[in-house]
């Protein structure tokens, strides 16, 4: 970017920060915040529940198409080099084989524009997709077999012989670090902050901790394997995908195949879990290319190993956290720096310093994420990228300092509670973490916590730990929605958003019904289709807000049109959109609800069958005007076996400050689901990477352990339910915060149980023996 652009941007940023609240989206609270007894917050069961429990919800690999062929992929077994020989003759001659595709016969394709390089870019990496003989990571697809059945494709794939000429791949972290690091760039900004000489302040502080933490690679492992059913209709590409980004996928596929975006139709009504992994990877592209080449519809469903080979996960981090404090516990210095691995072909510098930016009122800060490059499958976003592993380092270090200073760790956190954002100076939109701590401490029985190692029950040592959970409020640009209201008093909301199990369709049906004054049965929520309005990524916990802002804009437009249609003969004559609200199947004056006309009556008099309104959400300027974050107070009780070193979680409590909760039932599941994944991060999850060969060594659910039923106790998840006055519906998103803070809460509990600090995740039994 040029100096002029930089300066302009800085000026704009300042202007947005200083603008009067009223000019900013969220400056006038969403009227829905004041609806206290309606559908908002109600524990409504999922509207797609009956379909899902009866196996009738159709996932991406569940669309049978006439003439469909099945794909199987062959993966490289070296991390870097070239394909010297590729013998596909036996595979081609095998029964049922339709096509073997390699770099020699694949159609010419452009590389995927990688994520964040352009607004709708969705590529996991920008490596050419089967275009040449180059190998960039161990596991890169080198051939695709298409056959009449999956069994035939899998068998033929086993007949392909590849010989490689090995090049030099960088697969060991030490070598990558020796090659030099570069500062991480996240959302266009460097992950660096140097405020008031933190190193000097640390050196001078009377109390300090200065420790190193490491976190391993993680794999998302949604239970639904990555899959797509694809076919061409002339020059148009049709994809039944499992994606959390229908618009991004369609746009990116269009770039790859040299099509117009309108020629690509991507739908994804049900996604069997995503957590950041269900975006665009090579498999959809290879399936579409093979479909074009063979002239057949193609089903591709990666094997579980295949998911590990070509879908990236969370990268490794090495973190230093140093805190210097005064006698009263207030922080003089907060240092959070370290290194993460990426590849030469993507840009996802796991931003683990994000929590430290706004969590504590330190007098100085030094934050820095350095990136080094490895030849490996491109790492990517995974639930709470940054915060999940960043809170592990930060919140363990706070616990270590509290222990060293003999201050209760909750008290230490409260003593460092900032009044405004400590690094940007922006006011908080709403911040109630202290309240969450007080409520949680009482509920969990925190006062019963003893000294480390003090509580023994038979073979077990028992301990309590806590940590702060935090995740920002996001709203990405591009939201738009359409509302169609018909004379029979039904409404359809259309927006290209996603349902991966978060409860989006249910929660948004509740919101729309409440906004329009309809029952949930009268509202249809259409989503998961790139031909619908808006660009709404299911990521960053932003869908609730992004949809909320778009639907609210469309609703305003709808009310305007309805008031025009109502005309002078209506009781509503002369009213402005801001003066009316939806209630009882029609529009009513907000302060005099008896001034009312039903939608049916308005449309009938206007002789209209339906009315449609479409609008875009305003740009998310609120993000630069307030510091907007959710928080949680996380409490954990563990027991550690003195015989085996095994850690079991007895109890877990999360008290969340996430603004208004839209659906108590589905939100609780989101919190709990995040916490369960956090227990995995704390105790068992690690994608093992062979530093000699760059190969993932445990590419299966048998060898990569995720929490199972017996690992998970009843999890208590409660919330303060205080609306954020500056967000749509007063909500701030609940999908990712649950995983944050869990690693630290568990590690701190393990310390309290045993007196041992484990600073290297996961906390497996060998580290406690």
């Amino acid at each position: 970017m040029s100096l002029v652009q930089d300066t302009l941007q800085a000026v704009m940023k300042k202007a947005i920060a200083l603008a009067p609240d009223g000019f900013i989206p969220g400056g006038h609270p969403d009227p829905l915040i004041h609806h206290k007894h309606g559908l908002i917050g109600a524990p409504v069961s999922r509207i797609d529940g009956p379909l899902k429990v009866s196996g009738k919800a159709a996932f991406a690999a569940e669309f049978p198409v006439d003439g469909m062929a099945y794909a199987a992929l062959k993966y490289s077994s070296i991390p870097r080099g070239r394909i010297a020989e590729l013998d596909t003759r036996a595979a081609e001659a095998a029964p049922g084989v339709v096509l073997v595709m390699t770099h020699k016969n694949a159609p010419r394709l452009q590389p995927m524009p990688p994520f964040m390089s352009q607004p709708k870019a969705a590529g996991g990496d920008d490596v050419p997709v089967m275009q040449d003989d180059q190998v960039h990571w161990n596991g890169q697809p080198v051939a695709l077999v298409l056959a009449e059945t999956q069994e035939q494709a899998d068998h033929a794939r086993s007949l392909i012989r590849v010989a490689y000429e090995a090049g030099h791949g960088v697969t060991a972290l030490a070598e990558a670090k020796a090659n030099g690091s570069e500062p991480g760039l996240f959302q266009g900004e460097p992950l660096k902050l140097d405020l008031n000489d933190a190193e000097d302040k640390l050196a001078a502080a009377p109390h300090k901790v200065d420790v190193r933490y490491t976190t391993p690679r993680h794999s998302h492992n949604p239970i639904e394997l990555h899959a797509a059913t694809v076919y061409w209709e002339g020059d148009a590409l049709r994809v039944h995908d499992a994606t959390q980004a229908v618009d991004h996928a369609a746009w990116t596929l269009a770039q790859v195949f040299g099509l117009r975006e309108e020629q690509v139709h991507v739908t994804s009504p049900y996604v069997g879990g995503g957590f950041g992994s269900k975006t665009l990877w090579q498999h959809q592209i290879l399936a579409a290319a093979a479909s074009r080449l063979a002239g057949r519809p193609v089903r591709i469903m990666l094997s579980r190993e295949g998911v590990y080979r070509i879908v990236g996960g969370r990268t490794i981090t090495e973190q230093r956290v140093a805190i210097g404090a005064q006698d009263d516990g207030t922080f003089d210095a907060l240092i959070h720096t370290g290194t993460v691995a990426m590849t030469p072909h993507n840009n996802m510098p796991e931003p683990f310093i994000l929590p430290a930016r706004s969590a504590y009122a330190s007098r100085s800060f030094l934050l820095d994420v350095e990136t080094v490059k490895l030849n490996m499958v491109a790492n990517t976003f995974m639930r709470a990228p940054g915060e999940s592993v960043g809170t592990f380092g930060l919140e363990c270090a706070v616990d270590e300092l509290a222990h060293a200073m003999n201050i209760d760790p909750i008290e230490l956190r409260i003593r460092n509670e900032p009044e405004k954002d400590p690094t940007t100076g922006l006011p908080f939109s709403s911040r109630l973490i202290v309240e969450a701590w007080r409520r949680g401490a009482e509920r969990f029985g925190w006062s019963k916590r003893g000294a480390p190692g003090a509580r023994r029950e038979g073979e077990w040592l028992v301990g309590l730990g806590c940590a702060t959970a935090t995740y920002p409020y996001y709203r990405m640009p591009g939201g738009a929605a359409r509302i169609t209201l018909t004379r029979d008093g039904r409404a359809t909301i259309s927006i290209s958003a996603h349902e991966m199990g978060m409860g989006t369709s249910t929660a948004q049906t509740q919101v729309a019904a409440e906004r329009l004054g309809l029952t949930m049965e009268q509202v249809t929520f259409a989503y998961g289709d790139n031909t619908l309005p808006g660009v709404v990524l299911a990521g960053g916990s932003q869908q609730t807000a992004a949809i909320g802002a778009a639907v609210s804009a469309a609703q305003r437009q709808l009310f305007e049109t309805l008031l025009q249609l109502a005309g002078n003969d209506s009781p509503l004559a002369g009213l402005k959109p801001d003066e009316v609200g939806g209630s009882d199947g029609g529009l009513g004056k907000l302060d005099e609800p008896q001034i009312f006309e039903s939608y049916a009556s308005i449309l009938q008099r206007a002789q209209r069958e339906s009315v449609t309104a479409e609008a875009e959400a305003p740009p998310p300027l609120e993000l630069q005007h307030w510091s907007m974050h959710s928080h949680g107070a996380m409490f954990c009780e563990v027991r550690v076996s003195t015989v085996t070193g095994e850690v079991r979680v007895n109890r877990f409590l999360g008290v969340f400050d996430c603004g208004r909760i839209i659906n108590a039932k589905t939100a609780r599941s989101q919190f709990r689901g995040g916490i369960v994944m956090g227990l995995g991060l704390a105790l068992m999850e690690e994608t093992q990477f062979d530093e000699r060969s760059g190969r993932i060594m445990n590419p299966s659910l048998a060898e990569y352990h995720v929490p199972v039923h017996l690992d998970v106790p009843e999890i208590d998840a409660i919330w303060l339910d205080e609306p954020d006055p500056h967000t749509p519906m007063g909500a701030r998103g609940v999908g990712e915060i649950g995983i944050t803070g869990v690693g630290a809460a568990v590690a701190n509990a393990v310390f309290n149980a045993t007196g041992k600090r484990v600073r290297d995740l996961p906390i497996t039994l060998d580290k406690l023996l």
């Binding site: 009866s54 196996g55 690999a61 569940e62 068998h155 579980r304 709990r672 994944m677 659910l701």
Partner: protein
């Protein structure tokens, strides 16, 4: 080749390598049984064979000829859900819903294992004629069904409500 699936006779000719799961999904378009690993590690493909639960991805279709196979589609459908399916909806025993048919089929067989007194690692009295449906038994016995969405608490609640209604009522009273 012949199977009895959800009470109906099915005739198909398949490759000897075809798993029971792929017979169901790819040939019969019974997509309720899910594929999460194809290696016996996740339980998403669980179906009932003569009332017992199996991972259909590890079963060759040809071996199961003549057996009574029940899939999630055979347990209930929207509008006529099995009590356990209803309890899953009520207790939010799922999020994405992908592991759900497997969890439900597995749970149906688990309940009969408890009725028959088949002990587990957490059973106190190994000689009991029948074993109570407790959260602890459920957790142990359902551990072969992974849920990455982490809906375990809801699943345990759905199972205890359906199979141990009295215990569930006590719990509610205590709360």
């Amino acid at each position: 080749m012949r199977w009895t699936i959800n009470g109906a006779e099915v005739d198909e000719t398949v490759d000897v390598r075809t798993s029971l799961l792929d017979l169901l999904r790819e040939r019969l378009h019974l997509f309720g049984a899910k594929k999460g690993c194809d290696q016996g590690a996740c339980g998403a493909c669980t179906v009932l064979v003569d009332g017992r639960r199996i991972n259909s991805c590890l079963a060759l279709a040809v071996q199961y000829q003549g057996r009574e196979i029940v899939t999630i589609e055979g347990l209930g459908a929207p509008g006529a859900l099995h009590p356990l399916q209803k309890a899953f909806v009520e207790h939010d025993g799922f999020q994405c819903g992908y592991c759900t048919p497997g969890q439900i089929c597995s749970a149906v067989a688990m309940a009969s294992e408890l009725r028959d007194g088949a002990p587990s690692y957490v059973t106190e009295d190994l000689t009991a004629e029948t074993i109570d449906v407790t959260p602890e038994e459920v957790r142990e016995r359902m551990s072969g069904n992974l849920c990455r969405c982490g809906a375990y608490n809801g699943i345990v609640d759905a199972l205890t409500e359906t199979y141990a209604p009295a215990a569930e009522a006590d719990k509610r009273e205590a709360a």
